[in-house]
């Protein structure tokens, strides 16, 4: 090889190294393919594995919240693209607590089958997707569950003219055609309940609930069954004039506690979400609303409220949140009662007397003390 050729090889190699070095520099120190823009999600994946999702979300500046996007009163996608409903409002509440901005939410619509994978891959930080808290999900699937935001339960709906009333029981449905959507726990529950009670029913299942409703309206189904909240919503909106639909039995045939769901083994993140829900319940208990929050900050009715709103001795900073985190929350989305009334009121779901009433009024809405 002569000298000229060696020089040429050197020049080519040097040029190449230069390009690689120039590009490598800007990416050094971070193995991510794209430091600035994908950092958020890359960190999320890492965070799910090692904890520290709270910091990752705060660095990113937006909360990725998994919702259904097509569940009446829980998370509806409106014609202008906004997401409304009780689940959507709890997403906003978490964003207000963690980020100080209730609008810093990126709603991710998830199907039932994709929801847990979405948490595991870090696609979403938290699920507010009317997900029932069960043993297998809590252990086997690798989820952790926050405090229940809505106690639901499977019930049945029939026409009064068919001889049913609100006092009817499972024993009364013998021989009836019961319709529900296929492949859900709803289907399994009604079949099991009928078997346990020794009644024969004709169970018909359909692909989605709108088809079930169409068949109920046309009379092809005597009885339909799904979660109570869904039945009340349908009754409020779709009951024709001159018909009276009744919902029974008074004690639902299944327990469906719905609440926030997140990846397991991240206590700090879990605390932030759990206390968002607890704070909304405590504010409801003690009468702090989005309307009177300024007054309450100036003149707190109890030391507990004072601490939660960011006064003396508050505990929020120890949680990695800003002192006024819960104050931002109640200012932006209100307390539990406000969230409930705003979203579930219009579809006819009454809070008083239900499992979702305050614990002082016989319900199950109870929060540990904030101290």
């Amino acid at each position: 090889m002569n000298k000229r050729n060696i020089l040429r090889v050197a020049a080519v190699a040097a040029g190449f190294t230069l390009i690689a070095a120039a590009c490598g520099d800007s990416g050094s120190g971070n193995n991510a393919a794209d430091t600035t823009t994908t950092a958020g999600s890359t960190d999320t994946v890492a965070a799910v594995q090692q904890g520290g999702l709270l910091q990752a979300v705060q660095d990113r500046g937006t909360l990725n919240c998994g919702v259904s996007g097509s569940a009446v009163a829980f998370s509806e996608t409106q014609p202008d693209g906004t997401t409304t409903g009780i689940d959507a409002d709890f997403c906003r509440a978490v964003a207000a607590v963690v980020l100080g901005d209730a609008n810093a939410v990126n709603f991710v619509a998830l199907t039932a089958s994709a929801r847990f994978t979405a948490v595991q891959t870090g696609q979403v930080d938290v699920l507010m997707r009317n997900t029932t808290w069960t043993q297998s999900r809590d252990s086997d699937v690798g989820m952790d569950f926050g405090p229940t935001t809505y106690y639901d339960g499977q019930q049945l709906m029939a026409r009064e003219s068919d001889g049913f009333s609100a006092d009817s029981t499972i024993a009364d449905i013998a021989g009836a055609t019961v319709c529900t959507n296929a492949g859900t726990t709803t289907e399994k529950n009604i079949a099991e309940t009928a078997k346990v009670n020794g009644v024969d029913i004709n169970l018909q299942t359909y692909e989605d609930y709108d088809i079930v409703m169409t068949n109920f309206l046309s009379g092809a189904c005597n009885i339909i069954t799904t979660d109570g909240s869904g039945l009340v919503g349908r009754k409020a909106k779709q009951q024709p004039d001159g018909e009276n639909w009744v919902i029974f039995p008074a004690t639902p045939i299944s327990k469906e506690p719905l609440g926030p769901t997140y990846g397991q083994n991240d206590s700090q993140w879990a605390d932030a979400i759990n206390w968002t829900v607890y704070a909304s319940i405590i504010f409801d208990e003690q009468g702090v609303t989005s309307a009177n929050v300024d007054e309450m900050v100036a003149n707190p009715p109890s030391p507990e409220i004072g601490r939660l709103l960011g006064g003396d001795g508050e505990l929020q900073t120890a949680m990695g949140l800003s002192p006024d985190a819960f104050q931002n929350m109640v200012r932006a989305v209100g307390n539990y009662d406000e969230i409930y009334t705003r979203n579930l009121g219009p579809v006819g779901l009454k809070r008083a007397g239900s499992a979702n009433a305050r614990w002082t009024e016989g319900g199950l809405m109870f929060a540990p003390p904030a101290r």
């Binding site: 080519v12 390009i19 690689a20 490598g24 823009t37 994908t38 999600s41 994709a114 696609q123």
Partner: protein
């Protein structure tokens, strides 16, 4: 019209035999000959007329039923089209639509593709449309008398015009006009009615649906009017420049092919996307490799490079592998590996100046494509939305984006697979057969779930693929397997003689394939290929399984589950199915025209 063209000579200068003129048959004779020729035929005619009547009446009863909630699709129309694209940025959506219409207008003129429609035919069509409209008024169940009268009166106008025109025109009248003009006039009439007829205004304000009387909203009728003007203007511009601009067709073809990339990257992207990172990092890296790498390859492909060149290429290869050991952007590593591959093969391209220029040009093109793909799939919110799956335009837009990208990428891949499967080399044949048969054995839903949910779990740390690109990758792999089989069918229909003739002329295998077999095979495969394209368009609705808001998902699941339109499922579904039908039907119409032009099925 103004151009003196001989009917027997096509644009390519080839002589084509004129079709024999169909003789004029008076309607009464036609009916007697075709519908009541035998007693059995008469019974069938009566039976099927009754059946059609009952079905039409049922359909009309559904459409005009008093409990129909057409306000659901009307209020959600924008949602169905583009999901939640921000209001203040909506001009981007209209720009995209206008771009496509402008290209369509120019292409119609460039290819002189608008068919011509005879005066008599036109009169007949007008009369039948009038009869159909009048029949709606007469047949529909449950309609007010004034409503019926309205339909009959509106239908009477084109009916009378058509019948009078038929009376005036000679039975053998041969005059005709461009179908484009007719279509534009019809659409103009519809748009004019938007300005004048009080259809009602459906809006969604402060979380509630509202219906106001009056004509449709300004934000609907004004852009639509502009769109009509755009396509007319584009058509006449195209006609004016066609004689002076020889490469017009090639240029337009190129723009059509690039449009999905340009539109999704620059126009329909997240309006709030900060392009700082793109400008400071992604584009410089691409440029450095395109230019720097081009220079290196230019040197290495020199005839004098010899031994030195091979050593340099080996060093580049070592460096490219070494880049995986140090922290570095993935795109740099990919580009470096590509450069090493090109450098190693540079000796093959050594030779004339032209060959070397082509080599370097090919390198630059490849770098641009690869860098675009990596940026598009890997960078959130540039093109396809966030990795979380949120896209700034769902609905029909998403359906069309998935369909067009899938078709663009699946076609070359499928043709390659078909060629590999018919290849004489066992390694290619076996690999391609294994690929095609594996993919064809997997349901599309499984492919979607795998690519949307499993793929992110399998990727190495630091690599990400957004949901929509992941879906498109899976769909391309799936479609190309089916496409390959369609093309293979075409390839096998080419007679042995064609191969032998090509070999006798001394053509190489590549020339033989590209110039003799493939063009003929593709021509034969047009009907199944179009069937495949229609299938791809409709089956894209399966993305609902991974939670993407495409047209069907919004119509079927989202709208009926808002408290404002609870249970209103059939109306949006009907609108969605009409849109699917319109898309599929226009594709099949276009293919019929291409088939006729190529004389398919006539020889």
């Amino acid at each position: 019209m103004t151009e003196p063209t001989s009917p027997n000579v096509t644009a390519g200068g080839r002589v084509q035999l004129a079709r024999p003129k169909e003789p004029y048959i008076p309607p009464r004779e036609w009916i007697r000959d075709n519908l009541f020729s035998t007693p059995f035929n008469s019974i069938l005619t009566v039976l099927f007329t009754a059946l059609v009547f009952v079905m039409t009446r049922g359909m009309l009863g559904f459409i005009f039923g008093h409990d129909r909630r057409w306000e659901a699709p009307a209020t959600n129309l924008r949602f169905l089209m583009t999901q939640a694209y921000p209001d203040e940025q909506y001009i981007r959506v209209w720009f995209t639509f206008g771009w496509i219409l402008a290209l369509a207008g120019l292409s119609l003129a460039a290819w002189n593709a608008a068919p011509r429609v005879g005066y008599r035919n036109l009169a007949r069509k007008a009369a039948s449309v009038g009869v159909a409209v009048a029949l709606i008024g007469l047949v529909a169940p449950a309609m007010s008398t004034s409503g019926r009268l309205q339909y009959v009166l509106i239908g009477a106008i084109p009916m009378a015009a058509g019948i009078i025109a038929l009376k005036i025109l000679d039975n053998h009248d041969t005059r005709d006009m461009s179908a484009f003009v007719v279509q534009v006039l019809v659409v103009a009439g519809i748009i004019l009615s938007l300005w004048t007829v009080p259809y009602g205004q459906h809006t969604f304000v402060d979380g509630a649906a509202r219906v106001d009387s009056g004509t449709v909203a300004q934000s609907t009728k004004l852009p639509l009017t502009i769109m009509l003007l755009v396509i007319i203007a584009a058509f006449y511009v195209g006609r004016t420049i066609r004689p002076h601009f020889k490469q017009l067709k090639a240029v337009l073809g190129g723009i059509w092919l690039l449009s999905p990339f340009i539109l999704t990257t620059l126009v329909l992207r997240d309006p709030a996307f900060d392009s700082g990172h793109l400008l400071s990092t992604d584009i410089p890296i691409g440029l450095a490799f395109a230019l720097g790498g081009g220079a290196i390859l230019w040197l290495l492909s020199s005839a004098k490079a010899g031994e030195t060149g091979r050593i340099a290429a080996a060093i580049i290869l070592v460096l490219a592998f070494a880049s995986f050991l140090t922290p570095m952007r993935m795109i740099v590593r990919i580009d470096a590996l590509m450069l090493a591959g090109a450098a190693l093969s540079s000796a093959t391209f050594a030779g004339s100046r032209e060959a070397r220029l082509r080599f370097v040009g090919g390198w630059m093109g490849a770098i641009v494509i690869v860098n675009w793909l990596v940026t598009a799939t890997n960078t959130p919110s540039t093109v396809f939305g966030l990795p979380t799956g949120t896209f700034y335009g769902g609905g029909l837009t998403l359906t069309l984006i998935i369909t067009s990208f899938t078709l663009i990428f699946a076609f070359p891949l499928g043709v390659t697979m078909a060629l590999a499967r018919t290849s004489k080399m066992p390694i290619f044949r076996v690999m391609s057969t294994a690929y095609i048969e594996t993919i064809r054995g997997i349901p599309l839903i499984t492919v979607f779930i795998f690519f949307a949910i499993m793929l992110p779990l399998l990727l190495p740390d630091g690599m990400e693929v957004a949901k929509i690109p992941a879906i498109v990758i899976g769909y391309v792999l799936f479609s190309s397997a089916y496409l390959a089989e369609n093309v293979r069918g075409g390839l096998q229909s080419i007679g042995r003689g064609q191969h032998e003739a090509a070999e006798a002329l001394g053509l190489t295998t590549a020339q033989k394939t590209l110039m003799i077999t493939l063009p003929q095979a593709l021509r034969v495969s047009i009907p199944p290929l179009v069937g495949q394209a229609i299938g791809t368009f409709k089956e894209s609705s399966l993305v609902l399984i991974v939670g993407l808001f495409d047209l069907l998902f919004i119509a079927r699941n989202v709208i009926p589950n808002t408290s404002g339109f609870l249970g209103a499922q059939r109306e949006p579904l009907m609108v969605a199915s009409f849109i699917y039908w319109a898309g599929s039907y226009s594709m099949s119409k276009a293919s019929q025209r291409v088939e006729r032009k190529l004389g398919l099925g006539e020889r």
